[in-house]
Structures are given as structure tokens and as C-alpha cells.
């Protein structure tokens, strides 16, 4: 059977040098980052007061909660799923936090873990339904979205202001750096979440299972990976991040309100996708998502600085900037190699 004549060495030397395929997957990330800098440069040239470090920090301050929920969304998107309940769960967290702290006088230190637990539990429950009954995530999380928003209304249709000194203290603490620059506590929390997510996704078994699940769910199952638990956990993570994002939003606005975070799921998903995640799963980076959040925030800032746009031109310009960004991203980053 064996031919014996063929030496293995014949097959080992690969004569064709190509760009390392690993590096190739990073290209979109770099392109996005560069474009972001270009966007910032354009703003600085055009608007007075734009070129300042505080503008960049404000980007973080104003988008910390979005960053957190987008990180959660990234987990789900990486598995090829989708989570529409993000915004509603965040709103539910704001109103529960405000309600428990203000109307019931519970200490913040008790409320926050509770809220996070509810978020994670709710997410995991959705994941369980999705996995066990093989129902499309879109419907299950849409039901979750309705439910969470509905619960908000049943708690209170009015907004609740938080006067609790501890909460206000956390929210209004400014952490000063050199040159009078400052960030808020939620910014640090958001960055911590980002770093944790990065480590989890790239350096733990769970994280790798997430990628495997997105690459091919049936293969992952046949490879003996715990697809069920991974899926449930991923929605749990998303729920947790939504709840945490909601808590940060509570700090940001010092209030709870049933109509907070309307449509935030779309922003989160858009951020992940702009950051290079494929909605079909298996490909994307949390760092890309962070860039995506910054892109959305930057566009918003540019529009605010312009300050002469009417309501409709605001929308049109946001759309146009997004379009320019995406088109450049595609053209500079090159088309995805025709899949094999």
C-alpha cells in the first residue's frame, strides 16, 4: 500500500510566501482605527475646541454604558445570535435601581448586585429557551425586549430621580488626571469590562467555545464542545452587560425611566458590526466593538459641534457620515477574500 518513495520533506516546504493569514484578519481593525483618527482630525480642523483631550475623554464618559452593552452584544453576535433585549434590560435596570434605592431606601451596594443578577439570569433564561427548544434567538429576545420594557412600565411610568447621596457620589465623582482632564467612575468600569471581555474571549476556554459556536454550531457540537452551556452563558453575559450598562446609565442620568435606552440594542449591534463583527458569527473582536462605539460617538460629537443642523439634517448627516465611513472601511480594508 505504502509507496515508500515519497518523502515527507517534499510536502513540508511551502514555497509561496503570503501575508500571514492571522495578520489578515486584523486588517479591518486597523483600518477602522485609522479612519477613526481621520474623523477626529477632520473635526479638529473644522471646529474650534474640538481638538482637546477632554473631547476624547467625553467620548468615553458619554458612551461608557453603550460600550458595556455593546461588549455584551459582541458575545452574542460572535455565536451567530442576536440579542434584542439589550435596551429594555438596561432600562429595566435603571428603573429598578432608582426604584429600590429611592422609593424603598435600599442601599446601592445591595441593589446593584441584585440588578446584575436579574439581568444575567434573564439573559441565561432566554439562552436556555433558545437552546432547548431550538427557537430563533430573534423571537426569544424580542419577547425578552417586550417583557423587560413592560416590566419597566409596571414599576413606574414616571421617571424616578435619585437623590441618594451614595449614588450621586459615585455618579458625580470626577477622577482628575494631568492637565485638568477628568473621567467618571463609569468610564473605569466600562474599560474594565472591555479588558475582561477581551481576556475572556481570547484566553479562556469559554471564549474560544464562543468563537467555535459561531464558526459552525453543528461542528462545535460534533467536536464535543459544550454548545448548550456556552449558548446559555453567552446570553447570560449579554444580559449581565445590559444590566451593568443600565446601572452605568443610571449613574449617568441619576434617574430611572421606563423610556431610557430606547433602541439601544440597535446601537450596540451596529457598533459591533462597524467594528468588524460578522452577524453570521465566528468573526469579530471586542476591541473592534470598542472602536465601533467610538465611531458612533464621534459622529454624534461632530454633529453636535456643527450645531447648525436642523433635526432632519442631523439625521441625514449622521447617515451620510456613517455611509462614508463604511464605504471607506470597505474600500481601504479590501473586500473579503472570496470565501473558500
Amino acid at each position: 500500500m505504502s509507496t515508500g518513495t515519497v518523502n515527507a520533506a517534499a510536502r513540508t516546504a511551502r514555497p509561496l510566501a503570503t501575508v500571514s493569514p492571522r495578520a489578515r484578519t486584523r486588517v479591518p481593525l486597523v483600518v477602522t482605527a485609522v479612519l477613526l483618527v481621520v474623523l477626529f482630525g477632520a473635526g479638529s480642523v473644522r471646529y474650534e475646541g474640538f481638538l482637546s483631550a477632554q473631547v476624547v475623554l467625553n467620548l468615553l464618559i458619554d458612551n461608557g454604558f453603550l460600550l458595556v452593552v455593546a461588549v455584551g452584544a459582541t458575545f452574542v453576535i460572535l455565536t451567530g445570535g442576536i440579542d434584542l433585549s439589550i435596551g429594555s434590560v438596561a432600562a429595566l435596570s435603571t428603573i429598578t435601581t432608582a426604584w429600590l434605592v429611592e422609593s424603598h431606601g435600599w442601599p446601592l451596594a445591595v441593589v446593584v448586585p441584585l440588578v446584575l443578577l436579574v439581568g444575567a439570569g434573564g439573559g441565561a433564561l432566554m439562552g436556555w429557551i433558545i437552546h432547548t427548544f431550538e427557537i430563533q434567538p430573534f423571537i426569544v429576545t424580542l419577547a425578552g425586549m417586550f417583557l423587560a420594557r413592560g416590566l419597566c412600565y409596571t414599576i413606574s411610568t414616571e421617571s424616578i430621580t435619585i437623590d441618594d447621596p451614595v449614588t450621586a457620589g459615585v455618579a458625580q465623582t470626577r477622577l482628575y488626571g494631568p492637565g485638568g482632564l477628568f473621567v467618571s467612575v463609569p468610564v473605569l468600569i466600562a474599560l474594565a469590562v472591555l479588558v475582561t471581555a477581551f481576556v475572556v474571549l481570547h484566553h479562556t476556554r469559554f471564549g474560544r467555545n464562543v468563537y467555535a459556536l459561531g464558526g459552525s454550531e453543528s461542528s462545535a457540537r460534533l467536536m464535543g464542545l459544550p454548545t448548550g452551556t456556552t449558548k446559555i452563558a453567552v446570553y447570560g453575559v449579554s444580559g449581565l452587560c445590559s444590566a451593568l450598562g443600565g446601572v452605568l446609565l443610571t449613574f449617568y442620568t441619576l434617574s430611572g425611566y421606563a423610556l431610557h435606552a430606547m433602541g439601544m440594542e440597535l446601537d450596540a449591534i451596529a457598533a459591533a458590526v462597524i467594528g468588524g463583527a460578522l452577524l453570521t458569527g465566528g468573526s469579530g473582536f471586542v476591541l473592534g466593538t470598542a472602536l465601533g462605539v467610538l465611531v458612533l460617538g464621534m459622529i454624534q460629537t461632530l454633529v453636535n459641534f456643527q450645531g447648525t443642523l436642523s433635526s432632519w439634517w442631523t439625521r441625514i448627516v449622521i447617515g451620510a457620515l456613517l455611509l462614508v465611513f463604511i464605504v471607506l472601511q470597505r474600500l481601504v480594508g479590501g473586500r473579503r477574500a472570496a470565501g473558500r
Binding site: M1, R208, R221
Partner: protein, 519 residues
């Protein structure tokens, strides 16, 4: 035939089976895929599972390992009953499996695909350097040297198959199940694999091995379980069988069919009507995949592409179809220069390409057999000129019969077909477009012996009728038998084109493949 419960195996008094199954039944909507099948695996044996396409081999494996729930029957591991509802449980119980369609994650790196789920860790964090080192080490066990950090989807199907095997072997289980692991490997890899399997067997691992290659069975296996039409035909020590009797057991047929099988198809003389080749490629190249090559294919001629794993056969063929676009070089079809920018252009000029990777590049799993069969023809006509339903049925039924696709139901979803039958559907799709040049990349992958002979005959007949054929196969015998000329590739370079006349012995071809020179 006798039922296994009434016919104990010769070594019944010996060791206890490590894996035992009784009365396994599995019904899919409309099909009874397994009907009270039994199987026993002893430690330290290589056990072949044989049967025609659709006999139920893969289904049996999937039921045993918890992919599908069984409708009836019991599975005993080390004598105690187990019910697996997930492959993970089977793996934990010591059963490691390579399923038929390569099941890996294309978005992950080679190293990860091998080690995911078992990555070496420190403080809960994956040690990537260790992962890469172990993966590279495991691959060298099969004499494979890949960039383990690169994504899997840069590699050909054969490489993926090897990666899947390496992964399964590394689990170091009590039972190793291999469902057609050799379907796209060439001799060298097969030999490597067999060495590995023997080493495992000697360590006491029980190996269940599915293949359609009879010689491999006789080469490697100790006992055989034969399935036929979802039922257990019998269990035999290999020593009691000859290839002919084994085939008889599998197809339950008469000697007439067997005669047909042994009567080898021989290539006919190429009816080279004109000197002008149908297709002429000059200095055709694509950076990173194939160096410039020249190739002529005449009408009525079968040109074989031979080479080792990863030598660039698939990549050379893809350029001729516009599946990848060439960076430089020219292609002339019937003397006219053509730019093959996409498969559409190639198809419009009468070229057809049957991909080696039926799962990801060939079939549309959700569509029916009928729809998959007529897909290429319909695409060529455009959506505004639909084939009538009657015509579709006629074509589908014709090819279902011609290639013996089972179940013979044109409305079955193609993803529910067995691997071999899927391959036949893919072939049917291209055959019915009546191409002028037919490029076949591993067309007989996973096809049983009976059908393989049919397909080879078909290729010979098509060539006889004036079709040009480019035939790529890891099976040298097949290439030698069918081709008029054989182009040899090595390290992504076309090194020789040999006329397949009496002077071309298998040995000479092998030497060319291995050394790159025709001595």
C-alpha cells in the same frame, strides 16, 4: 444471513466488548435508517463498518455517539448501559469520533481546531504557545507541517480531514470512530494514518472504521460488520471473507453485478478530432496558490491531475473555472481568448466544475434533491426562463435512477441524504448541463464501489462522446485507469505532463509525483 445474537463471534469467550449496541433503531421522517442493528467493539481491534451508500453506517455512528437520539435499543460501554444525548457525553465516556463530513470550525486556527475543549491552561487562561506547540507536534505524527496558527479555512479538504483525525486521536479514548477518514487522502496519507491506527490498536484502543475501499479493509481490519439497507447483515472476522464475498454481503447481489464491478473500465482512445485543444491554458497563475502552468485539454480527452496532498491540484482546476481568478496567463477556449472572471463566464463557455467540498461549496442543504440537481442548469438559463416542473421532475428522476441515488425521492432535502448519495447529486447537477469541459475534483469521494464503477464508466463514455474531462483524484488507480494524459503537480507547480500509454507504470508516476522529475 444470520443474526448476530444467534451467531457469537469467534472470540466470544475473550475479552468483554468495550462498546456494544443491541437492537438500535432509528427512524427519520419517511425513512427507517436503522432497523434493530447490533454492533460489538473489542479492545485492541480495528473493526470495519461496511455497506453501500445510504446503508446506515453514519447514522449508526451518530446514534451511538449521541448526535441523534435512538428510537430503540441499548448501548453498553464497558458492559454498563449508557444513553448519550450529546457528543460531549460520548467523548467523556471515552468514545472519540471523526464524523463523515469534516466537522471543524473554519474560522479557528488549525491548532485550535485540534485542541479546542482541551487546551492546556494556566490559571484558567489558555497557554497559546503550548497549544501551538502541541498541535504542531501532533501534526508531525502524520508528517504534516502546517502553519498551525493560520485559520483552517486556508486549507484544502484533505488537510482538514487530517486535522479532524489528529483531533480525535489526541483525545486518547477507549474507542476511536472514523467515518470515511480516507475519502480524500492519497496513499501516502493513508499509510500514515494506518500506522497511527495500528499503534493505537496495539495500545488497546478499539477502532471503528468506515470506508468504501476494500483493500484498506483487508489491509487494516480484524473484523467487519456489514449493514444493508439499514439492517444488520452480519458480523465476520476478516479472515473468513474475500473481497468478492464481502461485496456480495454488502449489496446482496448476484454475481452478474459483481462481474460488472470487476470488469474494469478502460479508457478509450481519445478521439482527437482536431489538433486545436478545447481548452488551452498558458502561464496561468495565481499568487499564493499556483505557479504558472500550461495545460491543453482536447475534446474527448481525459486529463488527470496527479499530485500529493496540497500540491495544488484543486487550485489549478479552480483557475480554469474562474472560481478563483488568475493573476496572469491566458486561457483560450476553442482558440478564442477568454477571461474567466467568475464561474458564470466559464459556465457560459461550456465548462463545469464539480467541487471536492460538497458540503460547503457544492450542495445547498436545505433545497431538495431535485432543486440541487437542476440548479446549475437553471442558473445558466436565468430566473426568467424556468424549467417547467415536469421537465425538472423528468431530469431529477432520470439522474436519480442513472446514479442510483437513494432514497430515490426527488423531494427529499439533500442534507438528509447520506454522504455518498450527496456526492451523486452533485455529480448529477453538472452532468446534466452537458458541459464541453467537465472538471471533476474528487468525484468519487465517499462513493461505494458499485457506484464508483458506474461513475468511472460514465466519465469514459462522456469522453467517448467528445467531452473534455479534467479528472482530479487522490486515488491514483482511478486517475491511471481513466486518463489519457496525466499532469503532475508538486509544490504548487506543474512539473510534468505524461502520456498515459503502456510505458507509464504506476511506479513511474509515483516517482514523478514524489521527486518532480520524470526519470
Amino acid at each position: 444471513m444470520t443474526h448476530p445474537s444467534t451467531q457469537p463471534p469467534t472470540d466470544a469467550g475473550g475479552p468483554r466488548p468495550v462498546l456494544e449496541a443491541h437492537g438500535i433503531s432509528k427512524r427519520f421522517p419517511g425513512v427507517l435508517a436503522l432497523d434493530a442493528v447490533a454492533l460489538r467493539l473489542f479492545p485492541g481491534e480495528v473493526h470495519a463498518l461496511m455497506g453501500e451508500n445510504g446503508a446506515g453506517k453514519s447514522t449508526l455512528i451518530k446514534v451511538l455517539t449521541g448526535v441523534h437520539p435512538a428510537d430503540g435499543g441499548t448501548v453498553l460501554v464497558d458492559g454498563s448501559p449508557h444513553v448519550f444525548t450529546d457528543p460531549l457525553q460520548a467523548q467523556r465516556a471515552g468514545i472519540s469520533t471523526v464524523y463523515q463530513e469534516v466537522n471543524l470550525c473554519p474560522n479557528l486556527s488549525v491548532a485550535e481546531n485540534i485542541l479546542i475543549g482541551r487546551e492546556p491552561r494556566r490559571f484558567g487562561l489558555v497557554r497559546w504557545s503550548e497549544v501551538r506547540r502541541r498541535a504542531a507536534e501532533l501534526l508531525t505524527g502524520l508528517e504534516l507541517d502546517l502553519d498551525v496558527a493560520g485559520p483552517l479555512d486556508a486549507h484544502s479538504l484533505a488537510v482538514r480531514q487530517l486535522v479532524a483525525i489528529v483531533r480525535a486521536v489526541d483525545v486518547s479514548a477507549k474507542v476511536l470512530v472514523l467515518d470515511e477518514p480516507t475519502s480524500s487522502l492519497d496513499r501516502e496519507e493513508v499509510a500514515q494514518l494506518f500506522g497511527l491506527v495500528r499503534r493505537l490498536r496495539d495500545r488497546g484502543v478499539a477502532i471503528l472504521f468506515v470506508t468504501h475501499f476494500l483493500d484498506q479493509v483487508f489491509d487494516l481490519c480484524d473484523r467487519v460488520t456489514v449493514l444493508r439497507g439499514g439492517r444488520l447483515e452480519g458480523e465476520y472476522p476478516i479472515a473468513e471473507l474475500t473481497p468478492v464475498t464481502l461485496v456480495q454481503r454488502m449489496i446482496g447481489g448476484e454475481l452478474a453485478t459483481l462481474d460488472q464491478l470487476s470488469g474494469r473500465t478502460h479508457r478509450r482512445e481519445a478521439g482527437r478530432a482536431a489538433d486545436e485543444p478545447f481548452l488551452r491554458a498558458r502561464r496561468l497563475t495565481r499568487a499564493g496558490s499556483i505557479e504558472p502552468y500550461d495545460l491543453d485539454i482536447h475534446a474527448g480527452e481525459v486529463v488527470g491531475l496527479a499530485g500529493l496532498l496540497g500540491s495544488g491540484r484543486t487550485e489549478a482546476a479552480r483557475l480554469l473555472f474562474g472560481a478563483d481568478s488568475a493573476d496572469a496567463g491566458e486561457v483560450r477556449i476553442e482558440g478564442r481568448r477568454v477571461l474567466l472572471r467568475s464561474p458564470r463566464h466559464a459556465i457560459a463557455r461550456g465548462v463545469a466544475f464539480c467541487s471536492e467540498n460538497r458540503k460547503s461549496e457544492g450542495l445547498v442543504g436545505e433545497l431538495t434533491v431535485r432543486e440541487n440537481i437542476i440548479l446549475a442548469l437553471q442558473a445558466a438559463r436565468g430566473w426568467t426562463r424556468p424549467l417547467t416542473r415536469a421537465k425538472q421532475d423528468e431530469l431529477a428522476l432520470h439522474w436519480i435512477e442513472a446514479l442510483d441515488i437513494r432514497p430515490p425521492d426527488p423531494e427529499a432535502q439533500v442534507r438528509h441524504l447520506s454522504g455518498g448519495n450527496q456526492q451523486k447529486v452533485l455529480l448529477a447537477r453538472w452532468l446534466l448541463t452537458e458541459p464541453r469541459l467537465l472538471i471533476l475534483d474528487e468525484p468519487t469521494r465517499g462513493i461505494d464501489i458499485g457506484a464508483k464503477a458506474e461513475i468511472q464508466k460514465l466519465v469514459a463514455r462522456l469522453a467517448g462522446e467528445g467531452t473534455a474531462v479534467l479528472f482530479v483524484s487522490a486515488e491514483l488507480e482511478e486517475v491511471l485507469r481513466l486518463s489519457h494524459r496525466i499532469a503532475v503537480l508538486r509544490d504548487h507547480r506543474m512539473v510534468a505532463t505524461l502520456a498515459n500509454d503502456d510505458s507509464l507504470t504506476p511506479e513511474r508516476l509515483l516517482t514523478t509525483i514524489a521527486t518532480g522529475t520524470d526519470s
